[in-house]
Symmetry: C2
Subunit: 224 residues, 2 copies
DNA sequence: GTTTTCACCGACCGATCGGTCAAGCCCGGC
DNA sequence: GCCGGGCTTGACCGATCGGTCGGTGAAAAC
């Protein structure tokens, strides 16, 4: 994880940034996460940092650049971060490690994560976060590769790979909406529980048939 | 579903509203969904409706009220909508019906749904959507009841009920971030696939042991 | 000792924000 | 004819938005 040695203060991959820049990015990320991009003014950021608004424009050209540094910075090394935490072993274990590592990243860089996944995600001006999108695509494709690997190894059944990836990422990406850091469970523990549920399923071991039930796939495994 | 007979134009439960009010709510919901609350100005809404900004204030007292009507209106009948679509039968089928019905609601009132689940969700001024939150709590508690029912019936194993509810809701609530209505699968079909994955699990029928793997819960079912 | 550099600030800009207001338009009842 | 009231408007308000400007003071470079 040498690529990640530049992370500090919850702001990822801002290598040769001064302390002041890091402070601005940290405060801006926290504000963007809690009030959104449009809901956060440059005055808010300056006030949170205890500096003048002009100083923001000394270090950044405009508001978009601050957001880009927060958002892209937070997803910049997500792929590398996760990839470096995938162990050798059965593919199912790799998927589990993928989920746990993503949760760890979320825990570490929570404000930047939230800011980048919520603020004006569907802005018509795609250029503002196009780079971030391609990085997330690479991240998602990596997961799909792991899923295909598990299918090829016979560890998981022949499910729809993109859909499976979406299910796994949904469980992780929605976490910031209900996760409370003051509660006991860590994001990594939560990811572990979700992996268990998704991989092993909720169903009890003994299959019970319901002849009267409407057509569905519930009893499907028996017919495979 | 008599409670839902007042739904029109993708705007839920606006019973005695005039056409103009329904138009405003529909356009406002679409704008809130695509640009967020702060990113949508009253001028934007008026322009989208082809009316003057003053007219908005004739029908609504302020911007917050428009958002409240959109957001609360969209979650107002979600609980009833879903509840009325739960069939008699095994609890697992009820959970599946819960997911499919929620997906149908999402498909029908997509813009209002997105607006209410994304715009300033963590605003410090909770009063703006407190009512909406209590309604969603009732909705989530209803799901937890179904899960507990399925556990009591022995259909699903003894999982953590709140966590299971979060997993199920995550798969549904994150859908708006990637769902493309031009693609083939409907939200209901997607919900059905997710239910299958979560209920039956991804794992293939035959359990394979990996003695060299690091400690985890992958092979756990065998030990139960 | 002088000059250059750089982090930093207060005052200010035009534009846009949410919101107000007095006045017109339209149309059925008298 | 005209009158009352709901629908609708454009002009306007103070506040705040993102962003710019000239300048300050202290340390570094010469």
């Amino acid at each position: 994880m040498t690529e990640l040695s530049t992370m500090k203060d919850g702001v990822a991959n801002q290598a040769e940034a001064s302390d002041r820049v890091l402070q601005i990015l940290a405060e801006a990320g926290r504000l963007f996460a809690s009030k959104g991009f449009e809901g956060t003014s440059m005055r808010d950021i300056a006030l949170a940092c205890g500096i003048s608004k002009s100083l923001l424009y000394h270090h950044f050209s405009n508001k978009d650049e601050i957001y880009a540094r927060v958002a892209v910075g937070s997803t910049l090394e997500l792929y590398l971060f996760v990839r470096d935490r995938i162990p050798d072993g059965p593919p199912s274990q790799k998927i589990r490690a993928f989920m746990v590592a993503t949760a760890e990243y979320f825990r570490r860089y929570r404000w930047a994560w939230i800011a980048s996944t919520t603020a004006f995600w569907n802005d018509p001006d795609r250029s503002r976060h196009k780079e971030r999108l391609t990085r997330r695509d690479r991240f998602e494709n990596f997961l799909r590769g792991l899923i295909q690997e598990a299918i090829d190894a016979g560890e998981i059944r022949k499910v729809d790979v993109p859909m499976t990836g979406r299910l796994i990422l949904s469980s992780l990406n929605w976490m910031h909406r209900w996760y409370n850091p003051n509660k006991s469970a860590t994001p990594e523990q939560i990811a572990d529980v979700f992996f268990d549920m998704i991989f092993n399923g909720l169903r009890s071991g003994e299959l019970v048939e319901f002849p009267g039930a409407e057509p569905s796939k519930v009893g499907r495994r028996k017919s495979r």
